[in-house]
């Protein structure tokens, strides 16, 4: 309520009702009155000189947003009030604000919410602006074709290798996404390294549906996907890929304990005794500091034959239609933010993987491996097949229909398959049933 008061009060200030400001902070009735005044002012046709922008990041990691907000204010004179809200209460606060008609003008959100999705501004102009080169695979549109959110950044699954072990074994690995390897070639190379260096395992694989999806996409499957009626199924390529994955859990290529008993694959890789680790870009920052006893590298995601990954939004920026004036100002700010030069600065300062192509951001990592990893991810993402963004868009569409996948049954069902409690086909049947039950139709 106070936030709204501040935002609207400065607009009122221009109208000469500055004395209402202290009242607005304390008295809810006054706030209501002020809301009404704010609404009325939209007819003036002017552009709001202040904006409220909500984010939720760990303190200290909001550097990029702070920098952009300061730069915007300097360039345009529009005051942007940046509010960093703790993650635990963020969703609730947005819901409450929607119900109290006091949403911010712009927000970076983890996901859309049916409670307020009808208040969102259409961001098609920004998304479709060719100069921005926003990767359309990772945009979600509603049924009428409106773009309701644009990712602030993206995250992607990817492969890490123990470079020292590869070099010790004298085995080559690809370095450019233009000339990557297949999963078969990768496993063959990793097994060779494992045998020659007496490492414990060839690969550890995050126990995560997202990581499995990425691998299935690369092997030509669509994993669990819905037809036009919203009914889920799996294709033959998915069945084959999942069977292959279950087979790798033989306690030589991969340790069974990760997917069946909750052992930590990242710790295993960091021990230096595992040849490769299938995880994602979010590990890079930590590894740039934590891995010191061997050299590591990010390598291109395998393509068999599909060059893909599972790409998700790190966050989504949205604009709210509080009134025509505020909505116009919100859209102007977001248009400015996604201009390549500004957006590059945001990505560099916050360490984001950009959703825009061709930016070449320069990150402040000291570690060469980390710099190379980010370069590789940035080069790879534009090459990825559209399937890479399927799940990210599907999630948004479920939300717009008022549904959500609270529990992905993948990990439990495949854990049972690896443990020999059921076949991989039966596991997929159960996973499909879980999807149909939660988000089907």
């Amino acid at each position: 309520m106070t936030t709204v008061g501040v935002r609207r009060s400065s607009r009122l200030g221009r109208g000469g009702t500055r004395r209402l400001v202290p009242l607005a902070a304390g008295v809810s009735a006054a706030a209501l009155l002020l809301s009404a005044c704010g609404g009325g002012e939209s007819d003036s046709g002017g552009t709001s000189k202040s904006l409220t922008f909500w984010i939720s990041t760990v303190p200290g990691q909001d550097a990029g947003w702070k920098k952009m907000v300061a730069q915007y204010e300097k360039e345009t004179g529009v005051k942007v009030k940046l509010v960093n809200i703790p993650y635990e209460g963020y969703t609730t606060k947005l819901r409450n604000s929607a119900q109290a008609n006091s949403l911010p003008d712009v927000a970076a959100v983890p996901a859309l919410d049916p409670i307020w999705s009808n208040k969102l501004i259409d961001l098609s102009d920004i998304a479709d602006n060719k100069a921005n080169k926003i990767n359309a695979n990772f945009l979600a549109k509603d049924s009428s074709g409106k773009v309701l959110s644009i990712p602030s950044d993206v995250t992607a699954s990817g492969m890490f290798i123990n470079k020292s072990l590869f070099e010790k074994a004298g085995v080559d690995y690809p370095t450019s996404p233009d000339k990557t390897w297949t999963w078969d070639e990768f496993i063959k190379a990793a097994n060779e390294v494992q045998e020659k260096t007496k490492a414990k395992y060839s690969l550890t694989f995050d126990p995560s549906p997202s990581r499995l999806r990425a691998m299935v996409y690369e092997m030509g499957g669509k994993y669990v996907h819905a037809d036009d009626s919203g009914k889920f199924s799996v294709d033959d390529a998915t069945k084959k890929a999942v069977k292959t994955f279950v087979g790798w859990n033989d306690d030589k290529t991969m340790p069974k304990s990760v997917w069946t008993s909750g052992a930590d694959p990242s710790a295993m890789f960091q021990s230096g005794d595992v040849v490769a680790y299938w995880s994602g870009v979010w590990q890079v920052a930590a590894y740039s500091e934590s891995i010191t006893k061997f050299e590591w590298a990010s390598v291109p995601t395998p393509a068999q034959p599909v060059q893909a990954s599972d790409v998700n939004s790190g966050g989504m920026t949205v604009g709210f239609n509080n009134n025509a004036d505020a909505a116009g100002a919100a859209k102007k700010f977001l248009s400015w933010l996604y201009e390549p030069d500004h957006y590059r600065t945001l990505c560099e300062t916050s360490g984001f993987l950009p959703v825009e192509s061709g930016l070449n951001p320069k990150y402040p990592f000291k570690s060469e491996a980390a710099q190379a990893a980010f370069k590789l991810y940035n080069e790879s993402i534009p090459l990825y097949d559209p399937i890479s963004g399927y799940f990210n868009s599907a999630q948004t569409n479920w939300v717009l229909k008022g549904k959500s996948l609270a529990e992905d049954p993948t990990k439990t069902e495949l854990g049972k398959a690896i443990n020999g409690q059921q076949s991989s086909d039966k596991a997929l049947e159960n996973i499909v049933a879980g999807y149909n039950q939660q988000v089907g139709g």
Partner: protein, 303 residues
Amino acid sequence: MTKRASAVSASPPRRRSKYTLAPLVLIAANVVLFSLFFVWPAVIGLVYSFTNYTGVGAFQFIGLDNYDNLLGDSTFYDALTRTLLYTVLFVPLNFVVSLLAANLVVSKHAKGGSVARVLFFIPWLLSPIVVGVLWRWMFGENFGLVNYVIEKFGGDAVPWQSNADLSLLVVVMASAWAWTGFTMLLFIAAIKNVPVSYYEAASLDGAGPWRQFFSITLPSIAPTSFIVILLNTINAMKEYPVFVALNNGGPGTSNNLLVQYIYETGFKRGQIGYASAASFVLMLILMAVAIIQLIVNRRVENR
């Protein structure tokens, strides 16, 4: 006169209120708390067990369908069987280890008894999650201490996590380790209450330490043993955090005990009604265990 009479007649009720009001107030506080935090949720749980409630929105009454489905649910039976197996393994192991520890620390021949008592007691102070994590470091299949030592001596790594039976065994050992301190304290108190004269008379008759233990100590601490077995059985049937921390009910779902099954069904799959029915089945089993043990104990005491 009238005044006196009224004073006399008024005094007995005042005295009654003095001795009934305070207990009533104190009991009422308990009754309110008990009703609010036990009876009311239990009633809600019982009501949910006859519905198809998913945790959000409205629900419909579906009679005994949940209970009917439970009877045909192999996953529920697997969880129940595993829970019983865990209980059958854990309770005797904990009983024997704790009794042994108690006898050792109270023995007049033992040196450093009080230090040992503290050392045995420390694990009981740890959170079950910490216990799970500690034992995971030791019995981690891939990078655990035990397998490291085995491999150093030329052996093959033991699949402590990916073999369902070994995985259960590790949890049994971890739980017994964690519970030894508390059970040991109960036994120490009981053993110290056994009159020394019994042992003196027995040794005069030529009874050795084993004979004394089986013929004097064990029968004398029977009531404590009964409480220990009852408490441990109930606790074992409700075990959850050690499994989650140690192997997450794995490998796969083979060590999902009843409480984990209820949690996963209710909160992860949103089948609150079905999970409530399973909870009530667990409660009935626990009540049956408690009643059977009470009856057995009463018979033993009356003999």
